[in-house]
Symmetry: C2
Subunit: 327 residues, 2 copies
């Protein structure tokens, strides 16, 4: 059984641990899951190209993650960052560890040498062996910017800041008027992305941020069409449980695009495949069992990734829901 999964960073990575475990336990002969990963959070810092979601997936599945924080390397040291601060050089809100730095150095060196991000990611995964086929959604540069009220403009003007600045520095507390995914309209899917959707027996959308992670992937040219055309069922898991995000600040993102922070509203935002949307099945938490999405099978199961067993059960429920809805 060939499975393709869409994922962002921390929440997506945890779910992928369960999905990888479910496939290993229940479909031992199956090929590795293909992961299509958001790159809209990527940024350039100190001339280094940093891909937070790709790295979080790679470190999490490769055993190098700091599990407490959910991002970055375990046993990290911060010498270079302390030295940057001694030069008066920020930003202090981005956690650039010494171990993590090596990943960015290798990536930047390869990108500068002309390798596409997908080839760089494959090279980095030679070390981490995440047990999935990890693909960036695109080799082209896409960067999510956030339109906020300009705090420096007494006339009430607006300005756009990088998503990471809004997310990490301002903790998504500045009201977002809009997300601008710079470059997404021209971005082509990375090699393998469309093929993996077309050839899949199941497409799973992880419980990642529906706006700035999954929404960005869906904005890449051809990906929505590939989901519409594939023979595979498409199942997604709600990142909203009981009216609040599982983790992170997805509510602030949903508000900006006028979607209520509820499992039902997010399911309706994704929409059913029969009506121009992307879903065949929608998994919500048991406390959201009343949710309905026109044309979509809604399944209510526990959706809290409290431990490996719970996450494995979620993944199994997603696979079962997808396959039960096969058309």
């Amino acid at each position: 059984m060939r499975v393709t999964a869409f994922a962002g960073g921390i929440g997506g990575s945890r779910f992928l641990l369960g999905l990888r475990a479910a496939m290993a336990a229940d479909r031992p002969g199956a090929p590795p899951v293909t992961v299509v990963c958001n790159t809209g959070d990527d940024l350039t810092l100190h001339s280094l190209r940093i891909c937070p979601d790709l790295d979080t997936v790679m470190y999490t599945l490769g055993g190098g993650i700091d599990a407490e924080r959910g991002w970055g390397r375990v046993d990290e040291t911060w010498t270079a960052r302390t030295e940057l601060a001694a030069y008066g050089v920020g930003p202090e809100w981005f956690g650039l560890g010494d171990r993590d730095l090596a990943t960015h150095l290798v990536r930047t060196q390869m990108l500068d040498a002309g390798y596409p991000l997908s080839a760089v990611t494959a090279a980095l995964c030679e070390r981490w062996r995440p047990g999935v086929s990890l693909l960036p959604m695109s080799d082209d540069r896409v960067e999510t910017h956030v339109v906020i009220d300009d705090p420096d403009d007494p006339a009430g003007g607006r300005r756009a800041i990088h998503f990471q600045q809004w997310w990490l520095r301002h903790h998504a507390e500045l009201a977002a008027h809009e997300f601008v995914q710079v470059g997404v309209a021209d971005a082509r899917p990375a090699p393998g992305v469309l093929d993996s959707i077309g050839a899949a027996d199941l497409v799973v959308i992880a419980p990642s941020n529906p706006v700035v992670s999954i929404g960005t992937i869906l904005g890449v040219r051809g990906i929505r069409e590939a989901l519409a055309d594939t023979a595979a069922p498409v199942v997604a898991l709600s990142p909203i449980v009981g009216g609040a995000p599982l983790r992170g600040m997805a509510d602030a993102c949903l508000s900006a695009i006028g979607v209520e922070t509820s499992a039902e509203a997010v399911g309706r935002h994704y929409g059913g495949r029969g009506a121009g949307g992307v879903l065949d099945a929608w998994l919500v938490d048991t406390r959201d069992a009343a949710a309905t999405v026109p044309g979509v099978d809604v399944h209510a199961v526990p959706l809290l990734m409290t431990d490996a067993g719970a996450t494995l059960a979620m993944a199994r429920a997603a696979i079962a829901a997808g396959l039960s809805g096969r058309r």
Copy 2:
């Protein structure tokens, strides 16, 4: 009294400590020494621009050097390098410490933003306050390559490798046929370099490598002419004592250009100003007192930088020799 000094890395930096001390003690009101520093050893590693000689001068005079090694930062850690090795990414022969990395990150970020190397160096020196005015010889890229026998060519062909590879990886043990200073013919002196030579009361050439440090500086367009034209006396200190380099592998460099490894031969290689060379005075060690250089005052004084006192005495001797020969 305005003093301009030419210097390379480790030996040059140590001498500059003595020169700075001599000026502070004997000419307390004088402006800071202007240091024109070699950049021909610069390299790009993991997309970062690294300037070993500038950094060695900056760290040494700024109190951040690892004095035992003579290069890099004191209390250095090596986490990123260990991680790079885990990715299978070298080169293992270049010592890229975590503290040092921050310097390269700031430099590369500023260069990418369009600042010239001289402005970057000034910004880095805001932190280090080296007590001299530190200038790269040029803002243009110059890189010394070394022509060697190609070990992979059974037909006996030659190839060029970066100076750092020859110096650090091969310890200058591969016979050098030639040094090619890529870019030097088009390199313009950095802002302030020619003016500082023209306005100087004394020019001092540190006991640095006469081929790949001082020789590279002298290759930059207009610098030889500025030395020929300045009213200031030009005094140099021999890096060769008793037929061997004070430190480093200058003998291998001298062999490549057909100059004997002796204080006299290096003095003659620099040459007297009256005969198209650069020197008014040449300081050799007491054991080389028999050396003669046509048209140049040769002074024999102890030239071993064994401690701060000896280095201070050397600097005082250089100043005195220069001033005594004022024309």
